[in-house]
Each structure stands twice: as C-alpha cells, then as structure tokens.
Amino acid sequence: MLVQILQQIAFGLPQGALYGLMGFGISLIFGISGVTNFAQGNAGMIGVFVGWTVYALTGSLPLALLAGLAGGALLGAGVDRLLMKRVKGLTHAGMLIITLGLLMIFDGLALIVWGTEPLLFPDLFKAPPIMVTLPPALNPEQLLLIIPGGDLRTALAAVVLSFGLVAFFRWSKPGLAARAKAQDEAGAKAVGINVAAADTLAWAVGVASAVAAGFLIAPKSTVAPTMLINLQLYGFTAAVFGGFASPLGAVVGGLLLGVIEKLVVLGLTSLFAAAGILSVNAADFQLSVVLVIIIVTLTVRPTGLFASRFKGKV
C-alpha cells in the first residue's frame, strides 16, 4: 500500500503545483482589487497563444515565453484600466457577469484568430520517468514506483515561480504597497500609495501567472481555446481552500488539492474493488472530489486554511 500511496503523491504533486500557480493569480487579483475573475483561465490562454505565435514566427523559445508573459501582463493591466476602473464598486453579481462576459470574449477571440485545431508547444521540462524500487521491507509486493521526471521538473518550476511571486508581494516595496491598499484603502492613500496602480499590478502579475501555468500545462493540454478551463476550476478550488484572498494559501491549497484528489481516487478504487464493483472507474470521480472539497471547505471552514486575521484581506 505504501508504494501506491507514494505513487499517487508523485502523480498528485505536479498537478497540485499547477493548481497552486493558477490559484495564486485568482487569489491575488481578488485579494488586491476585489474582483473575482472568472476569465482568468481564458486570459492566460490568450497569452499562451501569443507565445505560440511568436514561437511559430521566430523559433525562439525564450522570446516566445517572454512575449506570452508580457502579453498576459498587458492584457491584465488593460482589463483593469479599461474595464474594471470604470465599473468600480460593482456587486458580486455584476462582477460575475462582467468577467463571464470576458471569458466568452477571449474564447471567441481565440477561435477567430487561431481556430480550434489543437496546436503544439514545446515541453519546457522534458525528462524521462525514473523507476524506483523500494526495499522489500517497505515494499513486499516489489512494485515499481514511477517518478514522472518531466512532470516533477515542471512542478518545481511552478512551485518556485509561485513562491517567488508570493515573496514579491510579501516583501518588496510595490508588493507591500499593494497589500496595504487591500487592507485599508484610505490608509494607503494617506501614505501616498497610488491605489489604482496597485490594482493594475495585481491584474498584470495575476494574468501573467495564468499564462505561465498555461505554458507549463501546454504539453499535456495542447494549445487550444479550452486549454485552461479545467485548470481554472482547480485554481478556484485551490483558492477557496487556501482562504481566497491569500495567494500563499492558494499555492499551498493547490499542492494539497493535487495530492488529496489522487489519494481519494486511490481510496475509492480499493473500495470499489473490495465491494466487487467493476463497472465504474474511480478516476471518473476526480472532478467530483474537487467540488466536494469546495463545499466541505465552505461549510466547515469558510475562511480557508490561511484565513486573514483581520476582515479577510491579504
């Protein structure tokens, strides 16, 4: 059993790292600017398409990544400046409509410009899987443990990026200023923080982080208009899990979510096997697990794992 559990963790962590990176952007934008961005995944998708296009034109991977991230940042900043600033003080319902509208606009834009044909983007962290055999004492059945080398390297990149960005918002001067704005807007104005710029920073970095998640998942998802729809759902779950307004909470929440999801499926598989149910595949319940986690978190601990101590702000 130990090997199976380790195996699921080895498969779950890489996914969790991407959930966390996706959740980071959602939490950041909500925490600082107060907008729940349902278009996060599709905004990231547009950035990936920009990167793909630059790659197709120039053949330079660094240039492609840079263009994608910069494009995402510009898109985020643009949404904030041109749209969100004009509809300030919106209700949650109003925000839902606006960002859902954006989701569809980005989707349509991608369809028109790039079409539905799935496109390929190079795997940034390709590596062969590593097979490990644990000593017999721990592993009586002598099962192979497969360490997905490429996925783990991708995950490492996602984790380093996520924590790097969390650190930036925790300690850098612009990061501190943005968090101060979220905690007390009048106080922030009183010390001379440009509060509009703080929102724009959150949107730019938030959308760029979704582009990064998109680049990392592209080898698996291909580059297509729907490529980040699922990841966005996981990102939202990670964010809810972590406390929604806390980017650090979202990153940790994502990692936990990736592992929990796999372990639950493992548990269900053995449960079904023991009960002699052969007609259903436990892996089909993976998405349901996510929804259950959202519901359980919201009922048991609505403030999430990393609840803010004072009135729900980063």
């Binding site: 106080g187 104005k189 010390v191 001379g192 923080i193 101590r309 004072f310 009135k311 980063v314």
Partner: protein, 231 residues
C-alpha cells in the same frame, strides 16, 4: 501661506458635507478646526489630502493641488494622519512605518525618531498592527504620518481613544513638531486642548466656517464655551 483653500466643497452624492470653506495655514503655524459631529471636519481633511473628491481651490506653497491625486500631494509633503487610524492590520508595526515613508522621507532616520518618540512601538515592531491596542494603533498612525517628513501635517482626531496621559503625550509631540517648524492643521474633539495648543482656529458648523480667531481668544469666548467646550 503654506495652505490656502478657496470655496472648498465636498459632497457625497446628494449630501453636501462642506459648503465652501476658506481656511489658511501660515508657515510655522498650528491651526485647529473644531466642530460638532458631522460638521464636516473629516470631509475637509480628506478632501485636502485628495482621499475624497472635492471642488474648489487648494493652494499649497503657491501651487494648485486641487487636480492632483492623493499620492502626488503626499509627495509634496502634504501628509494626513487620518481619522480612525487606518493602519494596515495584517502588516507588522515596522512595515506600517516603512510604508509611511513610501512616497518620501528617509526610512532609517524616520524609524529611529518614531521609536524614540513611542518606545511602545519599538517593543512591538514585529507584531501585526491589528493586534495593537487602540492607543498603540493611534501612536502607529501618528508615527506613520511622521515617517513621510511632512511639510504640512494634518491630523484628524489624533487623540481619539487615548488615555489622558497619552493625549498629553500627543500634544507634547505636536508642540515639538511645531517648534521644529512644521506647520500643523489639527482636527480635534478635545476642543479645550486643541484651542490651547493652536495659534489660530476655525469653528465648523454644518459644512461652513462660523467663527475663527486666535486659539486663546476662542477659548475665552462665551459662545464657544457654551457650544463646544461644555463649560
């Protein structure tokens, strides 16, 4: 003149809180604004700081600031210590103070000065500001404003919620700042202390200045005594 307003007005939707106010603050001067609850004192301060929208002129050191956003006003040394403290609760004491110097002011020397003034804050430098007592939070708000090395310091009820000893300490601090040549515009509930401290004062009623004069004169005025000093 350091500050001069002309027909200064603030409204919130259909509510007009300030209906055309002209006040002045000269170099080295401490000016108090007193008035009942809802008279428009905070609207005046927030309007001057650019935190709420306002109409009318704001002449500061000869330049018209009325179109400038709040952060540009801070940059020029017009600094407000707002009503209700408005500190950053999740950030620790030192981060709050550092942000005080976000736009201007030297962090290192500022921290030394503020910790010297409020040793209590030095003891709690790594504690989340939200966990400070009300009085400590007020010290932090004042300290944070001083970090910007204000050239005109505006304070909105800085002694609110402070124990009498600390109120005295705040006024002592203000006296020192004025002695150091920093002009002060002060809003206070504690009218007796404010009038005793200020060179000049304005009395605000329903969004208008209804009386003004030397602090000591107003303190002796029968009408002021009855309406605001409760003597």
């Amino acid at each position: 003149m350091v500050l001069e307003t002309g027909d200064f007005r603030v409204s919130y939707g259909r509510i007009t809180a300030l209906k055309g106010v002209d006040i002045k603050v000269a170099e080295n001067e401490a000016v108090a604004v007193i008035g009942a609850n809802g008279a428009g004192k905070s609207s005046l301060m927030n309007g001057l700081a650019g935190i709420v929208e306002a109409q009318g002129g704001v002449l500061y050191k000869g330049a018209d600031l009325s179109r400038l956003p709040s952060h540009q006003r801070v940059k020029r040394g017009l600094v407000l210590c707002p009503e209700g403290r408005r500190i950053f609760p999740e950030l620790n004491v030192e981060e709050n103070l550092r942000l005080g110097a976000y736009r201007r002011g030297a962090v290192k020397t500022g921290l030394v000065k503020v910790y010297d003034m409020f040793p209590r804050l030095a003891e709690r430098r790594t504690q989340a500001a939200g966990y400070l007592s009300g009085g400590e939070q007020q010290m932090l708000a004042i300290g944070r404003a001083l970090m910007a090395e204000p050239e005109l310091l505006m304070l909105d009820e800085p002694s609110l919620g402070l124990a009498p000893v600390l109120v005295d300490q705040v006024f002592e601090t203000l006296r020192n700042l004025r002695a150091a040549g920093i002009p002060i515009l002060l809003v206070e509930q504690n009218a007796v202390k404010a009038l005793a401290f200020a060179d000049r004062a304005y009395i605000l009623e329903n969004g208008r200045v209804v009386m003004s004069g030397k602090g000591a004169e107003l303190l002796a005025d029968e009408r002021v005594k009855q309406a605001y000093l409760g003597i």
